[in-house]
């Protein structure tokens, strides 16, 4: 019995074109040839970026061609994401590369672009993001850190406190939202400043989070002096610049490719957990949860493809892209949670080395850290408000 083949070929197509296939094998080869083997990690890391640069901007895949980026199609970006998720690539931080750089490209002066972008590209300067404050979390526009212009108009004097500042303790510079005016709506009167972290008047206090890790901090500013030329764009217009950046941050947080890899590890780990004559994967309740998760991930993977295909066709991101952060982070958390469940009582062992199942120690700390995924970059509840307003078109009645 054979199944009749349709004569008409559909344009709806998920197959890669021959050009995309050859790009895919080029990426695979590059990642394989230049994987870390042994020796000085830092030397390898910086050299990896040099080699990627020589490929024609592979060290900055998301930057526009005008700034040295590779000018890939959305499909090529998708291939890159998929391949790098299953390969060992050097660590990289998003703050300068993916968050500040687009703001500078869009709103920075030529001088600022020339001054800051090359060091970001070379991974020589580490940046951190000064957004949230004790009184300004999801309601970011409520921020109070004050920047007052000196009488000669040459400097700002910055006073206030930032919180949840990721890697502030290793950062060389900070991009920071500050209040330069108190009149009008709270979104007005915010400016976007850049300044070095290693100077008098800046105090960084570690915050240890549930997973036991030190990655976020509280940062106090006391009379920190910042030259006016370090302000990006116009005074009091910083909110507009920051909003664009937040959007960028949100779409980058879905992590679908990484979740696909993590789910496969979870299955392997669960198959290694003995239970009676079988394994944890034979337990219907656990297996069912893994299956539900996998189906959601299969759908989300295609939601991302739909969003990419729309971008490739030159369309604005459709409604499907608005759900990627919400769904993507929820899925990441569910994988982490099932990893802890798979670890059983060994997930409780909190010494330096894992006890029992080898994955259990990292599983617990990963799970605890993952609780932040639905909080940072705009809590999920705030995201839903945004979808209700912008996608479903629900307007406040004003009553």
């Amino acid at each position: 019995m054979s199944i009749p083949q349709p004569k008409r070929s559909a344009t709806v197509d998920i197959e890669l074109s021959p050009e995309d296939l050859s790009f895919q094998s080029e990426v695979r080869n590059f990642l394989k040839e230049n994987a870390y083997k042994q020796g000085d990690y830092n030397k390898w890391r910086l050299n990896w970026f040099k080699l990627a640069r020589a490929k024609g901007g592979w060290d900055i895949p998301k930057w526009p061609e005008k700034f040295g980026g590779p000018g890939w199609s959305p499909t090529q970006h998708y291939i890159w994401e998929k391949q790098t998720a299953v390969s060992v690539t050097p660590w990289d931080l998003p703050f300068g590369l993916s968050m500040l750089a687009p703001v500078l490209m869009n709103y920075g002066s030529q001088e600022q672009q020339d001054r800051f972008l090359p060091a970001i590209r070379d991974r020589k300067v580490n940046w951190c993001q000064g957004y949230s404050e004790p009184g300004a979390g999801s309601d970011l526009a409520n921020l109070k850190t004050k920047a007052q212009l000196t009488p000669d108009g040459k400097h700002y004097i910055v006073n206030g406190t930032k919180i949840w500042t990721t890697l502030a303790h290793i950062a060389d510079w900070i991009f920071c939202l500050v209040r330069t005016s108190d009149t009008g709506k709270k979104q007005e009167g915010i400016s976007f400043l850049l300044f070095p972290m290693k100077q008098t008047g800046i105090e960084v206090k570690p915050i240890i989070t549930l997973g036991g890790a030190h990655s976020v901090n509280m940062v106090h500013f006391t009379d920190v002096k910042v030259p006016v030329e370090n302000r990006v764009g116009e005074a009091d217009q910083g909110w507009t610049y920051a909003k664009g950046l937040l959007q960028h941050e949100r779409t980058g947080l879905a992590g679908i490719s990484r979740s696909l890899v993590a789910l496969e590890s979870l299955k392997e780990q669960a198959k290694g957990v003995k239970r009676g004559n079988g394994t944890l994967m034979d337990e219907p309740a656990f297996r069912t949860k893994v299956a539900e998760l996998e189906v959601d991930l299969m759908a989300t993977e295609f939601t991302e493809l739909r969003s990419l295909a729309a971008a490739a066709g030159g369309h604005n991101p459709g409604p499907e892209s608005s759900i990627l952060k919400l769904k993507g982070t929820e899925i990441q958390q569910r994988i982490q949670k099932l990893t802890v469940e798979a670890g059983g009582i060994y997930s409780a062992a909190w010494g330096a080395k894992p006890v029992g199942h080898s994955f259990a120690r990292a599983g617990m700390s990963g799970y605890l850290s993952s609780r932040a995924y639905t909080i940072y970059g705009g809590a999920s509840e705030v995201q839903k408000d945004v979808v209700a307003k912008n996608v479903l078109g629900i307007k406040k009645s004003g009553k």
Binding site: P4, V12, A291, A312, K384, K396
Partner: protein, 380 residues
Amino acid sequence: MDFNLNEEQQLVQDSVARFVSDRYTLESRQSIIASGQAFSDAHWATIAELGWLGLTLPEAEGGFGGNQIDTMVIMEQFGKGLVLEPFYASIVLGARALILGGSDQLKQEILPAVIEGRCQLAFGYAEEQARFDLNDITTRAKVDGDMFILNGHKSMVQNGGSAQQLIVSARTAGAQTDTTGITLFVIDTATEGLDCSSFPTVDGLTAAEVSLNNVRVPMTRVLGEVDQGFAILQNVAMDGILALSAEALGAMEMLYKDTVTYTQEREQFDHPLADFQVLQHAMVDMFMEYEQCKSLLYRATLEVAQSGLAAMRTVHALKYLIGKVGTKIGENAVQLHGGMGMTEELRIGHYFKRLLVIDAQLGNSDYHLEKFSTSSAYQG
């Protein structure tokens, strides 16, 4: 990568959408049901005239050579209109089985009439003890010269009361749940010993209980090989699931959009309901789950069109998600409409009832999740 319809598919979509918006108001649909007919003969004639019955059938059989993507385009729009005419039973299930297994002579005898709408088909695959397992069959067929004699019972046969030709699965060898030893037969519903007792289903459609008492069927009316009918059965079920899922997607879109509209109009506590954040978030959830279903429907449909039965795992995933999300969106739409959601006056309840039935057709969400999670990827 491209998820846009091509020009022909776009034209079909526009024309089915126009048919639905012009002729399928809730009022006209309910009046067809109230008249005691299973569907409207006039609408069926229009559907045939517009060429949709042949759209997805091979050119060699007088069709236009479309595939599962074309079926998806039609069924999604039918879902928006809650269309009663038996495109699904007659074309997606019946004609597909004939194409996969019918002899040239049998196809020539039946398919032209099916494409013209003069003949309707139905597919009897279910039996009570089988629940959702297509291979669990007690209806028996015994050879008698150049005939088979069938005895048994087929249950919940959609469109069984209107069809002229009925396809049934029967056991010709093996034990009750063996996948070999299953044979498919095409039976004229006027055959002696065949009784179709039709009744309404909760979604406004009809089904029949079919009993077979010494029904004599010529050898020439076997689909595929004797004992080897299971592969055809699986292929037809797979296409059926895709079509039902597309129909469900159309219904879900109407439900979440109607709910967004209604909650902005209806006022309580001096506010439109949509001012309340707890309701906004419920609607955002409905919208997100709808989009996820759409993504998985595209994925499964493309995979089946490209690789057939190898895509079965994705089809299990799809039917699970559609069943789970469809009923949830239906329940929430009723909840957010309040008392009005409970009435027959609004479309909401009718979409909800259709989605409830779709969940139970060809295996419900629990059934398909179990199939998905016992596939090889989950074995140690």
